[in-house]
C-alpha cells in the first residue's frame, strides 16, 4: 500500500437515511468540499455487497482512509472491519435521522446536520494515520511476583503452568507468608466440614519442582523501572547484594500485616498473655498439633475459650479499622474446631454481631461448627478484664442483657492491614537523577509519580471498578490477594490466578504494542514534539496511570506500554505538542472547524458536543434508538475521555462561531466512573479555567457547560443539549460568526 493518503467516503441510504436525506447532496459535499478521493452512495452499505464495494476500493483504488457515513460507530462493527486502513464513522442514523422528527419543516436542519457529519467524517479521516506498533517493546515472557505467601506462590505456579518464566521475591527467609503460620485452613471443597491442610507445603514443593520459577528469599525490590514488556527490577538480598532482572509484568502480592492488637487494651490485649489474636492462636494450635491447646500464661489446657469477632474492626473509633476483614468469622469457627476436635468438652463461644460466612462453603462450615458444639452468641464486648482470671463483659444482644463469661483464653479476631508500601500522596518521589530506594516501599518504582501503586481506600490497592477488578493505575502491575482487598485463602487463590492471567496478557499486549484495558487492542500511542515542549510537566503530573516520566532535562518521557491511550496528556498540554496517530488535536479540531456556520441572522446556532465515548456517546445512541429528539443544531463528536479534551477545541469552536459547547464526561469524585480515573475530573477543572477565556472574548459563561453523564442518562443527555439550545435562545447568538 502506498503512503499516499486516499480517502473514500461511503454514504449509506439504508435504514431510512435515503428517504430522509438528500444523500446525493452529501456526496457532493464529501467530494467537492471535503475532497474525498472516492465517494460512493449505497442502498445498504453494511450488506455483503456494500462491504465488498468498499473492500474493492481499498484493494483496487488504494483507498486507505475509509469514512463510513451511515450508522453509529457502535453499530455494525463486524461489517465495517477492514484491515490496514483507518476507518472513520460518520453517524447520520443515530446521530441525525433518529433524533430528528420526520417533518417537512425539520427537513432543512436535518439535512444540514447530515452534511456537517459528512464533512466531519472526511476531515477526521484526513487527520488519521493507521496506527502501527512503535516497536518500543519486545516480548519478555517473564514475570515478577513480589511476595511469597499463598497469593504470590499461586500466581507464580499458575503463570509457570502457562509456560512463562517467573521470578518470585520474598522478604522473609521462607516462603509461606501468613498461611505458612497457620495450623490449618478453612475448607474449600465439599463437605466444608473440617479444617484442612493449608496447602503451603504443597505449593512450596511445586515451586521447588518448577524450573521456570526462580525464588529469591530474604530479598526486597529496591528499584523498578521501565514499562510492561521491559521492566527492569533490582532485587536486593539482606546482605546488600543486588541483581537486576528484566521482566514483562509484575504481580504485587505483598499481603497484609495483622492489625496491631495493642490498640485494644480494653479487650485485655497486652495485659494478659491469655488474650491472643487469631494469628497468635494459630501458633498455639501448631504447638499443640492436634492435641489440647494450652494457654500461654501457665500452660494449663484450655477448657473454655471466647472468640471476640470484629475486634478493632468495622468501627469508627480512632485506631480501629473501618472495614470488615472478611475472613475472620470463618477463621474463628475453624479455630473453635481446633479445640472441639481435640476435646469436645471444651467450651467455645463466638461473640459476633453479624456472622459472615458467605457462599456455599461458608454456610456449611458455620453449620459444621454448630454441629461440633461451637456456641454462637450475638453480642458486643465492652471489656475484657484481666485481673485474676479473664472476664469477658458483653451485651447479649438477643437476650438483651449485660453479662459476662470467664474463659481460660480469649481470642481476638483483629483483621488485616494491607502491606501496600508507601502512600505516594504522602511520600514524594525523588527528583529525576536522584534515585534513592525507600525501605517502606514494596516496588520502589522509578516512576515520576511515586514509588508504589496509588491506594484506593483504607490503604488497599484495589481497583475502583466493579466490572474490572484488576485495573490498577499502573499498567502491567497487578495486585493480588489481601493487599488488594480483605480476603480469605480461597479468594486469594482465585485472585492470584486472575492476576497471573492479567500479567500474561500485559506481556502479550506489550509485545505487540497494544493498549491494555479499556482501549484494549488500540495500537496508537502518544508522541510529542520535543521542540515545542515548555517542560510544564502537566502531562507528567496529570497522567492517571503514571505513564510519563521526566528525563534529566525535565522533558517528558512517554512509556508507550504503560499508556492507556486516554489522551489526558493531550488534553493537558497547553502547547498541543502531544498527539496519537488516530486521535489528535487536529483530528478533532478539524472536525470542529469544518462545519457550516450559518450566518448570525439565520437563527441557526451551532452547539458543539464533546461526548465521552464510554458513557455519554452510547447514552445518546440509545436516546436515538428510543426516538428521543434533540436539537438539530448540535454537532456531537465522541472523545476518548473528557480528559483528552484540549481547551483549544473549546476556544477554537467559540472563535469559529459556535454558540455553545457542551462537554459530557463520566462521574468524577470518590465514586468516579471515569474509566481513566481522573479524566473527567481534569476536564471539569480545566473548563473552570475556560471561564477566564470567555471573559476575555466577552462571551457569556453559560455558553460552555461541563456535565457528568452516565450511560443510563438516555433522556438527560439529549435534554442537556436542548438546554444549551434554550440558553442560546435566551442569551442570543454568538457574535463570532464570520
Amino acid at each position: 500500500m502506498s503512503d499516499e493518503m486516499k480517502i473514500g467516503a461511503y454514504i449509506c441510504k439504508g435504514c431510512g437515511i435515503g428517504d430522509r436525506l438528500n444523500t446525493q447532496q452529501m456526496a457532493t459535499i464529501a467530494e467537492r468540499e471535503a475532497k474525498a478521493n472516492v465517494v460512493r452512495e449505497h442502498d445498504y452499505l453494511c450488506n455483503a455487497d456494500g462491504v465488498a464495494m468498499i473492500q474493492k476500493d481499498i484493494d483496487e483504488e488504494g483507498v486507505n482512509r475509509v469514512a463510513i457515513i451511515a450508522c453509529s460507530r457502535r453499530a455494525k462493527t463486524e461489517a465495517f472491519n477492514f484491515d490496514g486502513v483507518a476507518v472513520i464513522r460518520g453517524n447520520i442514523r443515530e446521530g441525525v435521522i433518529w433524533v430528528r422528527p420526520d417533518t417537512e419543516e425539520a427537513q432543512e436542519t436535518t439535512q444540514e446536520m447530515a452534511e456537517d457529519y459528512t464533512r466531519m467524517a472526511v476531515f477526521e479521516a484526513r487527520y488519521q494515520t493507521p496506527p502501527k506498533p512503535s516497536g518500543q517493546a519486545g516480548r519478555n515472557p517473564h514475570l515478577l511476583v513480589v511476595g511469597g505467601g499463598i497469593s504470590g506462590m499461586t500466581a507464580a505456579i499458575e503463570a509457570a503452568k502457562a509456560g512463562y518464566q517467573v521470578t518470585l521475591v520474598e522478604k522473609e527467609a521462607e516462603l509461606g507468608g501468613t498461611a505458612g503460620k497457620l495450623f490449618k485452613r478453612v475448607p474449600n471443597a465439599h463437605p466444608f466440614k473440617d479444617p484442612m491442610d493449608t496447602g503451603v507445603e504443597a505449593l512450596k514443593a511445586a515451586i521447588e519442582a518448577d524450573d521456570r520459577i526462580t525464588v529469591h528469599t530474604s530479598s526486597t525490590i529496591t528499584k523498578t523501572s521501565g514499562a510492561p514488556g521491559r521492566f527492569s527490577v533490582d532485587i536486593t538480598r539482606e546482605s546488600g547484594e543486588t541483581i537486576t532482572e528484566n521482566v514483562g509484568a509484575i504481580i504485587q502480592a505483598s499481603g497484609f500485616k495483622p492489625y496491631d492488637a495493642n490498640n485494644l487494651p480494653e479487650l485485655g490485649y497486652g495485659k494478659s498473655p491469655d488474650v491472643v489474636t487469631q494469628i497468635e492462636l494459630e501458633a498455639l494450635a501448631k504447638a499443640a498439633n492436634g492435641g489440647p491447646i494450652k494457654r500461654p500464661s501457665d500452660g494449663k489446657e484450655v477448657e473454655s475459650v471466647v472468640f471476640v469477632q470484629c475486634a478493632g474492626q468495622r468501627s469508627d473509633k480512632e485506631g480501629h479499622l473501618p472495614y470488615c476483614s472478611g475472613f475472620c468469622c470463618n477463621a474463628s469457627i475453624k479455630q473453635a474446631m481446633y479445640f472441639k476436635d481435640a476435646n469436645p468438652n471444651v467450651d467455645t463461644v463466638v461473640l459476633y454481631t453479624d456472622l459472615r460466612t458467605p457462599g456455599a462453603g461458608g454456610e456449611d462450615f458455620y453449620r459444621a461448627g454448630q454441629e461440633k458444639g461451637v456456641i454462637f452468641t450475638k453480642g458486643t464486648v465492652s471489656e475484657v478484664e484481666t485481673g485474676g482470671g479473664l472476664k469477658v463483659k458483653f451485651k447479649d444482644l438477643i437476650l438483651d442483657e449485660d453479662t459476662e463469661a470467664q474463659p481460660d483464653l480469649v481470642v481476638l479476631a483483629t483483621g488485616t492491614v494491607p502491606n501496600s508500601g508507601v502512600d505516594i500522596e504522602e511520600v514524594p518521589q525523588n527528583e529525576p537523577g536522584e534515585w534513592e530506594s525507600d525501605p517502606n516501599s514494596v516496588l520502589n518504582l522509578a516512576y515520576r509519580q511515586g514509588k508504589d501503586l496509588p491506594l484506593l481506600k483504607h490503604g488497599f490497592n484495589d481497583s475502583h471498578f466493579i466490572c474490572f477488578p484488576y485495573e490498577t493505575r499502573r499498567t502491567g502491575i497487578y495486585t493480588a490477594g489481601p493487599v488488594r482487598r480483605p480476603m480469605d485463602i480461597q479468594q486469594a487463590i482465585e485472585d492470584a490466578t486472575g492476576a497471573a492471567l492479567k500479567s500474561i496478557q500485559a506481556i502479550e499486549n506489550a509485545a505487540q504494542g497494544r493498549a491494555a484495558h479499556p482501549r484494549s487492542g488500540d495500537l496508537s500511542y502518544p508522541s510529542f514534539r520535543k521542540e515545542g515542549c515548555t517542560q510544564c510537566k502537566r502531562c507528567t503530573v496529570e497522567c492517571p496511570f503514571g505513564a510519563i516520566d521526566e528525563d534529566e532535562e525535565r522533558y517528558p518521557q512517554f512509556n508507550e506500554s504503560r499508556c492507556r491511550r486516554c489522551g489526558t496528556c493531550m488534553g493537558a498540554c497547553p502547547v498541543r505538542v502531544i498527539s496519537f496517530e488516530n486521535y489528535s488535536v487536529d483530528s478533532v479540531g478539524q472536525q470542529i472547524k469544518n462545519i457550516e456556520i450559518p450566518d448570525e441572522f439565520d437563527e441557526k446556532p451551532r452547539i458543539l458536543v464533546l461526548a465521552c465515548e464510554n458513557d455519554a456517546y452510547p447514552a445518546l445512541d440509545m436516546a436515538a434508538m428510543k426516538g428521543i429528539e434533540y436539537s438539530a443544531f448540535a454537532r456531537v463528536i465522541p472523545v476518548r475521555c473528557l480528559g483528552s479534551v484540549n481547551t483549544i477545541w473549546v476556544t477554537d469552536a467559540l472563535n469559529t462561531g459556535y454558540d455553545g459547547v457542551v462537554l459530557m464526561g463520566c462521574q468524577k469524585g470518590e465514586n468516579y466512573q471515569c474509566h481513566f480515573v481522573k479524566g473527567s475530573e481534569m476536564a471539569h477543572y480545566r473548563m473552570s479555567k475556560v471561564d477566564d477565556t470567555l471573559e476575555q472574548l466577552n462571551l457569556e459563561k453559560e455558553r460552555v457547560e461541563t456535565y457528568e453523564v452516565a450511560i443510563t442518562d438516555v433522556e438527560r443527555a439529549p435534554k442537556l443539549i436542548n438546554d444549551m439550545a434554550e440558553t442560546i435562545e435566551k442569551i442570543g447568538m454568538s457574535p463570532f460568526k464570520f
Partner: protein, 208 residues
C-alpha cells in the same frame, strides 16, 4: 427439689446445653439454631410465651437452667408445627418444646398451676388407664382440676357445649361408668411400664 434434679445439677454444672442434649427429646438440635427467630414469629400462641422458642434456645446456651425449666412457655405449644416447617435449620422445635416440658415435669420443676401442664398429665393418665381416651372423664377432670367450686363454675360455663355434644350423640353420659377401652389393657400397661423403665435407666446412666 427432686433427687433427679439435684443429680442433674451436679452432673451438668457447667453446661445446661449439654444437659439438654443428653436428656431432652431432640435436645441435640438446640445448638443448631441460627437465631433467625422465625419460630417465635410463627407461633400462633406467640404473644403468650414469656420466652418464645428461639429465646429458650438462647437461654439454654446461656445456661439459664432454672429460668427455662420453670417457665410456662413450653406449655404454650399448640403442636401446630408452624415453627418446624419454617425453621431454616430444620430444628424439630415442637418436639424440643415437648421434650423440655416433659423434662421439667420429670424434674419436678414444671409450673404446678399451669393449666396445660395439668391437662397434659390428666390426658396421659386418662388414656393410659384403658388405652383409649374417655372424653367425658377427661373433660370433667379438666373442669375440676382447679378445685371443686372452680370446677362447678367451669362446668356451668361449658354446659351448653356438653349439651350440644350430648344431643348430637357426640358425648354420652354413659361414658362415666364404662366407656371404650382396649381389650389387652394389661399388655399395654406392660409395654408402657417397660418403655418407662428403659427410659429411666438411660437417664440414670447419664446422671450417674
Amino acid at each position: 427439689m427432686s433427687n433427679l434434679n439435684t443429680q442433674m445439677i451436679e452432673k451438668y454444672r457447667n453446661s445446661f446445653l449439654r444437659e439438654v442434649e443428653a436428656n431432652v427429646e431432640e435436645g441435640e438440635w438446640v445448638k443448631m439454631c441460627m437465631q433467625c427467630g422465625v419460630c417465635s414469629g410463627s407461633c400462633p400462641f406467640g404473644p403468650h410465651w414469656e420466652h418464645p422458642p428461639q429465646e429458650i434456645f438462647m437461654m439454654i446456651r446461656a445456661g439459664k437452667r432454672d429460668d427455662v425449666l420453670t417457665s410456662d412457655s413450653m406449655w404454650m405449644c399448640t403442636s401446630c408445627y408452624n415453627c418446624i416447617v419454617r425453621c431454616p435449620r430444620g430444628l424439630p422445635i415442637t418436639h424440643i418444646m415437648h421434650g423440655l416440658a416433659h423434662y421439667a415435669h420429670r424434674l419436678g420443676l414444671a409450673p404446678k398451676e399451669n393449666p396445660t401442664h395439668k391437662f397434659a398429665i390428666k390426658f396421659w393418665d386418662n388414656l393410659t388407664r384403658t388405652g383409649r381416651v374417655n372424653e367425658l372423664k377427661l373433660g370433667l377432670a379438666l373442669y375440676f382440676m382447679n378445685g371443686f367450686s372452680e370446677g362447678i363454675k367451669t362446668s356451668l360455663k361449658m354446659k351448653d357445649i356438653g349439651l350440644g355434644m350430648w344431643k348430637t350423640k357426640r358425648l354420652s353420659p354413659m361414658e362415666i361408668v364404662g366407656g371404650h377401652k382396649c381389650k389387652d389393657v394389661s399388655g399395654l400397661h406392660k409395654i408402657l411400664a417397660k418403655a418407662r423403665e428403659i427410659e429411666e435407666s438411660k437417664a440414670q446412666k447419664f446422671s450417674g
